[in-house]
Symmetry: D2
Subunit: 292 residues, 4 copies
C-alpha cells in the first residue's frame, strides 16, 4: 500500500494542568516560533475536575536536527507558570513493553502476533511468568522468558525480581496479560499508571476471582472485558478500554470464557495501542483518552 503518512521525524507533546487562560496558546505559539508544524491538536477541559488536557502531534517545517534538550528547557521555561505536567515523545515511538503471564496464553499470543507483524510498533524486552508453560511461544518470537515461580512465602522476593527485570529493561509499560497473581500493595504503587491489566468482566461488575463463573450465575446477556491501569485498589484502577459481546442461556462458564477470550485480546491490545501512542491521561480515578 502507498504510505500517505510523512516520513520525517514527528513528535507528540502531551500535558495536563489546571484550567487557565492561555494554556492552548502556550503550546501553539511556542511550536510556531520554533518552526514546527502542528499536524494534529486535541484538547479537553474536565470542568468537573477543573483540569485541562492536551495532545499535539508536530514536526519541523524544515529538515533540521531536533535538539531534545533545548526544546525541553525552553518549553519548561514557559510552561512553569501553568503548574503543568508534560511529556515529549519523538518518533520512532518504539515503546518497551514487558509482558507478564501465567498459563492462559490468548492475550500473549495476540500481543506477540501484533508485535511480530508490526501492528503494535513495540519492543518486548521480557516476558515474565510464574509458570514455565509459555516459554516455547516466547522462544519462537526470540524473546527472553523469565520463569519466576511464586508462593505466599516467596512473594516479596519474586516481586523484587520482577521489578528488577522491568527496571533493567527500561520498560515504558508493563502488561498483565492474564497474570493470575494479585500484586502486593507495594508493587501496585510502584507500577501505578505504568502497568495495564486485563480483567475478564465489565468492571465494576464481577470484580475479583472467577468473573466468568460469577457472570454465569447471574445470567448475564452481555459478556465483556476491561483493560485498566494498575492502582493500589484491586480491580479499581482507571479504566482504559472495555469490550463486550452478546451471549445467551446456552453459554456455560467455559463458553463465556471462550467468547471472553476474543474480547480480552481486542480490549487489551487497544489499551496498549492507546498507551504507546501517548493518547491516555490519568485523571484521578479515571482516564482521558484522545483516541483515534
Amino acid at each position: 500500500m502507498p504510505d500517505f503518512k510523512p516520513v520525517v521525524q514527528t513528535h507528540i507533546i502531551t500535558a495536563d494542568s489546571p484550567i487557565k487562560p492561555g494554556t492552548v496558546n502556550l503550546f501553539t505559539r511556542f511550536l510556531f516560533e520554533q518552526g514546527f508544524y502542528i499536524s494534529e491538536i486535541h484538547s479537553f477541559d474536565d470542568t468537573a475536575e477543573d483540569r485541562f488536557f492536551i495532545r499535539i502531534e508536530f514536526r519541523a517545517n524544515t529538515a533540521t536536527e531536533f535538539n531534545r534538550e533545548d526544546f525541553c528547557q525552553q518549553f519548561e521555561a514557559r510552561a512553569s507558570a501553568f503548574d503543568m505536567k508534560w511529556q515529549l515523545a519523538s518518533s520512532p515511538y518504539k515503546s518497551k513493553v514487558v509482558i507478564m503471564v501465567s498459563k492462559h496464553d490468548h492475550c500473549l499470543n495476540d500481543l506477540l502476533y501484533r508485535y511480530r507483524t508490526g501492528d503494535l510498533d513495540i519492543e518486548i524486552p521480557a516476558i515474565i511468568s510464574n509458570h514455565p508453560d509459555l516459554e516455547a511461544l516466547a522462544k519462537w518470537h526470540d524473546i527472553p522468558y523469565y520463569h519466576l515461580p511464586i508462593t505466599k512465602e516467596t512473594k516479596p522476593e519474586q516481586e523484587a525480581k520482577v521489578l528488577k527485570i522491568i527496571q533493567d529493561s527500561e520498560a515504558d509499560l508493563v502488561v498483565l496479560a492474564r497474570y493470575m497473581q494479585v500484586l502486593s500493595n507495594g508493587m501496585c504503587k510502584k507500577l501505578a499508571g505504568k502497568a495495564i491489566n486485563i480483567h475478564h468482566s465489565l468492571l465494576p461488575g464481577f470484580k475479583g476471582a472467577r468473573p466468568y463463573y460469577q457472570a454465569y450465575d447471574r445470567g448475564i446477556k452481555l459478556v465483556g472485558a476491561t483493560a485498566h491501569y494498575v492502582s493500589d485498589d484491586l480491580d479499581e484502577g482507571p479504566i482504559i478500554t472495555q469490550g463486550v459481546e452478546t451471549v445467551d442461556h446456552t453459554y456455560y462458564p467455559q463458553d463465556l470464557a471462550a467468547k471472553g477470550r476474543d474480547i480480552e485480546c481486542l480490549t487489551l491490545s487497544r489499551a496498549v495501542r492507546c498507551h504507546i501512542e501517548h493518547r491516555i491521561f490519568l485523571n484521578g480515578k479515571k482516564t482521558v483518552i484522545f483516541s483515534k
Copy 2:
C-alpha cells in the same frame, strides 16, 4: 409488503420440566396425533440445573375449530408423568400490558409508539404514575392514566390501588418504564416473573440509585441498560436483555443519561417483545430465552 406469514390460527406451547427421556416426543407425538403442524420447535437442556425447556409454534393441518379446553385436558393427561409446567397461548397473541412510570417519559414514549404502530402487538389497559406529568401523552393515545401519588406513609395503600388496577385490567404483564419507586417486598413477590423493570446500568454494575452518576465516577467506557424481571431482591431479578453503547471521557452524567435513554428504550422494548411472544422462561435466578 406482501405477508409471508400464515393467517390461520397459530398456537404456542411452552414448558419446562426436569430432564427425562421422552420429553420432546411427548409434545411432537401429541401434536401429530391431534392433527397439528409444528412450524417451529426449539428446546434447551440446562445440564447444570438438570432442567428441560421447550417452545413450539403449531397450527392445525386443516381448518377446524380449536377447542382449548379439550386440548389442555388431553395434553395434561400425558404431561402429568413428567412433572412439567406448561402454558398454551393462541393467536391473536394480544397481551395486556400495564405500564408504570414516574416523570421520565422516554421509555413510555417508545412503548406507546410501538403500540400505536402495531410494532408491539399489545393492549395497554392502564398507565399508572406517581406523578401527573405524563397524562397528556397517555391521553393522546387514548389510554386511561392513573395518577397515584405515593409517600412513605401511603405506600401500602398506593400499592394496593396499583395491584387492583393490574388485576381489574387482567394484565398479562406489568412494565416498570422508569418507575422511580422501590416496590415493597410484598409487591415484588406478587409481581415476580410478571413485571419487567428497566435498570439504567449493566447489572450487576451500578445497582441502586443514580447509576449514571456512579458510572461517571467510575470512568466507564461503555454505558448500558438491563431489563429484568422483578423479584424480591432489588436489582437482582432474572436478566432478560442488556444493551450497551460506547462512551468516553467527554460524557458528563447528563450525557451518559442522554445516551443511556436510547439504550433503555431498545433494551426494554426487546424484553417486552420476548415476553409477549412467549419466548422467556424463568430458570431460578436466570432466564432461558428462545429469541428470534
Copy 3:
C-alpha cells in the same frame, strides 16, 4: 442533575484550508489576543487530500459583549492569507431544521420526541410531506405541516414550493426523514451539504429502492442504515453516520424493516446532532467529523 457546563456565551469556529504552516497558530493567537479562552480544540490533516480541518470551542475570559461583526472582520483579515473557508456559530446554538416525510413516521416521531424534550436543541419551523397522513403528529407538537402532493407532472412546482418554505423559514438544515421521493437534480444541487437523508441500508450496499427486500434476497446477517448529505448523485452523498444490528435467517423483509426502523432513528438523530453541533466538514465526497 447539576449542570457542569458553563452558562456564559460560547462560540464555535470551524474552518478548512490547504495544509500550510501556521494554520493552527492563526486561530489560537487571534483568540488569545482577543481575550478568548479555548475550551476545546481539535484539528485533522487529511494528508491524502492535502487539507486541514479545525474546530474550536471558545468563550470570553471576561463577561463582555460579543461583537460578531468586528470579530469576523478582524479574523478574516488574517485568514485571507490561508485560502480558508470558515464559519462562526454562537450560543444558543438553535438550528432551524425543516423535516420532510412521506408516510413512514418512525424517524419523524423520534426527531419530534428529541425536539420536545430538548435532547435535540433545535427549532422546527416546518414539516413538509407529499402525503397528509402525519399531520396529527405535527399538530400535537404545534408545528406547521405542509401537505404538498407530488406527481411526475407537478414535480417542478412542488419542489419550488418546498424550496420556498425552506427559504422562508431560514432553515439551517433540511432532514429527509424517510421522504420517499427522488429529488430532482436541480433540487439536489440546491440542498447539497444542507440536507441530510436517511437511507435504510449500509451504503454502498443496497442502493436505490426497497433496500430491505434486496437485503433479504441476499441473505445478509447485519442490517443497517446510513445518514448522508444529499448530493447530486443519488445515494452517493457524503456519509455522516452508519448504524447496524445483527439479524438471522428468521427475518423476512418486514422483520428487517422493523429492526431497521430502530437503527434508522438512531443513525439519523446522531447525524442531525453532529450537524447542529457544527462537528461535520465536507471533504470532497467524504466527511470529517469531530465527534463527541
Copy 4:
C-alpha cells in the same frame, strides 16, 4: 473448570425438505423408538421458499454401541417419503479442515491458535499457499505446507493439485483464509458449499479487489467483513457471518485494513465454528444457521 457437558457419545442429525405435515414427528418418533434422548432440537420453516430445516442433538439413553449403518438405513426407510436431504454426525466431531492462504497471515494465525488450543476442535491436514512465506508458521504447528505457485498459464494444473490435496486429505471443509486468487469456475463448482471464503467488506458493498481502498474512497463509517460459502458467482456465495467495527475520517486505507484484520479473524472463525458444529444449511443463495 468443571465440565457441565455429558461425555457419552453424542450425535447431530440435520435435514431439510419441503414443508409437509409430520416432518418433526418423523425425527422425534424415530429417535424415541430407537432409545435416544434428544438434548436439543431446533427447526425453522422458510415459508417464502416452502422449505423446512431441522437440527437435532441426541444421544443414547443407555450406554450401547452406536451402529451407524443400521441407524442410517432404518431412518432413510422412513425419510424417503419426505423428499429429504439429511446428514448424521457423531462425536468426536473432528472435522478435517484444509486452509488456503497467500501472504496475509492474520486469519491463518488466528485459526492455528484456535486449533492449537482446542478452541476449534479440528484437524488441519494441509495448508496450501501460492507463496512460500507462511511455511514457518505452519511448521511450528506441525502441519504440512504445500507451496503451489500459480500463474495465468499454470492455473488449471495448480488447481488440480489443490483439489488432489483436498481429496487425499478427505477434507470436510476448505477455508480460504485470505487466499488472494480468484478460483476458476470449475474449481468454484467443485467447492460450492464446502469452502468458506472471508471477504474483507460488508458484502454486497465493495465486491471484488481492494475493498479497503474502495471503502476509504467512499468515506464509510463502519468497516466490516463477510464470511461466505464459495459459489460459482464470485463474492455472491451464501453469507454465513458478518462482522463490523466503527471507524472515522482518520482511517487511511492501511488503517481500515488493520482494524479490518481483527474483524476478519473473528468473522471467519465464527463461520468455521458454525460449519463444524453442523449448524449451517444452504438455502438457495442464502443460509439458515441454528447458531449458538
